[in-house]
């Protein structure tokens, strides 16, 4: 009786540690990206901010979401793809090239999915589904968004997301709409 109880207790302790470790590990992975990664600014498309609301998160749409290639290479939606980025002088991100297989050098690379492919003449446009589309927020943000509107002129780069990229992984850190930081 006593033996079986200590067996139970020990297994329970092990299980508890595994559960805690699993949660901790998730945090650790994200912290590693934040601490080691490089920051890119992704310009967001003009949109009514309230259209972004998706219940518990905002769905972000980025301007730099497509890439022209010459051949379609039989690309299909939902296929995994690796996007190499480049930064301009202001820190805004642009797509440098796409990889169909995991590249050897993962610096400046984000793993993403193909959203859709459209072909016209010799040109194929690949639309990219970034893994940092969601921005979770609390109730205060909805009110904040209500008072904002995206500026219509497309030259201004005041609505953007700060994204941290490290070895193929990426997380969205902050978003700015009309230059105003949106609190989580």
């Amino acid at each position: 009786m006593r033996n079986s109880r200590s067996f139970l207790v020990i297994s329970f302790l092990i299980l508890s540690l595994i559960q805690l470790f699993y949660v901790y590990n998730k945090i650790r992975i994200q912290e590693r990206i934040i601490n080691n990664g490089e920051t890119y600014l992704f310009v967001m498309q003009e949109n009514d901010p309230l259209d972004l609301l998706r219940g518990t998160y905002l769905e972000l749409y980025f301007k730099e979401n497509s890439f022209k290639i010459k051949d379609s290479f039989g690309l299909k939606p939902n296929q995994r793809i690796w996007v190499e980025l480049r930064k301009d002088a202001d820190g805004f991100a642009h797509i440098k090239q796409l990889y169909l297989d995991i590249p050897k050098n993962l610096n400046q690379v984000v793993e993403a999915k193909i959203g859709s492919v459209s072909g016209r003449n010799d040109e194929t446009i690949v639309y990219i589904d970034y893994p940092f589309k969601r921005f979770y927020y609390n109730e205060g943000v909805a009110k904040q968004l209500d008072s904002l509107q995206f500026q219509t002129s497309s030259d201004t780069k005041t609505s953007f997301a700060r994204v941290i990229v490290w070895k193929g992984n990426a997380i969205v850190d902050e978003i700015y709409i009309n230059g105003i930081r949106i609190n989580k």
Partner: protein
């Protein structure tokens, strides 16, 4: 008569001795105490949940003010608290059901709260099905450690949710993994049920498992699901119910009744012309040999077992077992005739009439009602498919309603006599 009077009466008539009377008294006294403490624990659990939820809301209100590190630490708190209570329960209260049941659920919820909060803090783009998968995997050991029936059932339901989320993807195989990990616990309940037939919980388990297995089969065959495979699956369900579970009651035997209701539904569909119109798609079968062959072998073995078993006990084969074969015959006739739906109409009429007569003879209200209901569904659906004025439809519905109530009333009265 109260218990005291009962005991006195039994003592007076020397059916029990004073010692036994004392024991019985103590037993009931103890039982009553257990009941009231149960109620207390339920309220305690509810209270803890409310307090926990309140604290979470307070935190969430000022959530954005906290730095990320504090948020991450806060995410662990519900899990840590529930785990500590779990440890206490294992040491002190491991025999008290309500403690083990509630604390195992609390830990499981502590886990999902932690996971969800971390996903939010770092904006992790995870699909909900991925989250659910790990939630279930990491909660399954709790079911065994605490012998928690309610958590077990909850996890079966959650894994069915996971299956639905991945209905068309390859990941539905991972559902089988969750299912296999939970199965031994369910099997233990079934075994225990053989000794004391009191577990109401078990029937919920049976229904959950029967329905989610059916979903899995749909998901497995997905785009090459043909009418024949459907009949095969339904007959296997029926045979499982008849051969293994053996129970008559609707609530206790989901397999049998899913099979029966399914095949009756197919018969009603078959009485419409549109059902047979796309002949090509009905008869061009996309077979992948192994699964369909396994299905066929299982059906044949199930029938053989049923026939041998019934011969030994010199019973007739159950009526419903013929329906599946009968439906296949109608299906095959569609290959030769263009008016198969007429066979469908005839068979629905014959079957429902037969069920009504059988129910009347065997004094079984469920069979009688099954016949009546299938007859009326047949009538009602056919009325809707044609251009019949609302007046006639209304009259038809009223009449069918009256007949349904009337026959049941008459039947119940006769049984009472």
């Amino acid at each position: 008569m109260s218990l005291k009077e009962d005991l006195k009466d039994l003592l007076d008539h020397q059916i029990i001795d004073p010692q036994t009377a004392q024991k019985i008294k103590e037993y009931y006294h103890h039982k009553a105490g257990e009941k009231s403490s149960r109620l207390l624990i339920v309220f305690a659990v509810l209270g803890t949940f409310l307090i926990g939820a309140g604290i979470l809301l307070l935190i969430a209100h000022n959530w954005s003010q906290f730095p990320r590190s504090i948020k991450s630490i806060l995410a662990f708190i519900p899990l840590l608290i529930s785990q500590s209570v779990g440890l206490y329960v294992l040491f002190q209260k491991s025999n008290i059901k309500f403690w083990t049941e509630s604390v195992s659920i609390a830990i499981s919820f502590g886990l999902i709260i932690a996971l969800a909060l971390v996903s939010q803090i770092y904006h992790i783009q995870e699909s909900s099905s991925q989250l659910v998968f790990w939630w279930v995997i990491l909660s399954i050991p709790l079911v065994y450690l605490f012998k928690s029936k309610s958590l077990g059932l909850f996890l079966f339901v959650l894994s069915a949710y996971y299956l639905l989320q991945n209905f068309h993807s390859d990941k539905h195989y991972l559902y089988l993994l969750l299912w296999l990990l939970l199965w031994p616990f369910y099997y233990g309940l079934e075994k225990k049920h053989l000794h004391d037939r009191t577990s109401l919980f078990l029937y919920f388990y049976r229904w959950t498992i029967a329905i989610s297995l059916l979903l899995f089969v749909f998901s497995f065959f997905s785009n090459r699901f043909s009418l024949l495979t459907l009949v095969g699956v339904l007959s296997i369900y029926y045979l499982i119910g008849e051969n293994i579970l053996k129970e008559r009651n609707f609530f206790k035997n989901p397999y049998k009744w899913i099979g029966i209701l399914g095949i009756l539904g197919l018969f009603i569909f078959s009485s419409f012309n549109f059902f047979w119109e796309k002949k090509e798609s009905l008869f061009t079968l996309q077979f992948q040999w192994v699964p369909e062959l396994v299905l066929l072998i299982l059906v044949v073995l199930g029938y053989l077992y049923l026939i041998i078993k019934r011969k030994k006990t010199e019973q007739d084969l159950p009526y419903f077992s013929f329906l599946f074969v009968f439906f296949i015959l109608i299906y095959l006739s569609a290959y030769f005739f263009d008016f198969t739906y007429i066979f469908g109409i005839l068979s629905v009429l014959i079957i429902s009439l037969n069920l009504i007569v059988q129910g009347e003879r065997k004094k079984r209200l469920d069979i009688l009602n099954l016949g009546l209901v299938s007859f009326f569904i047949f009538i009602i659906t056919h009325f809707f498919s044609n251009d019949i004025s609302f007046v006639y439809r209304g009259v038809a519905f009223i009449l069918t309603g009256i007949v349904l109530i009337g026959i049941n009333y008459y039947f119940l009265k006769n049984i009472k006599k």
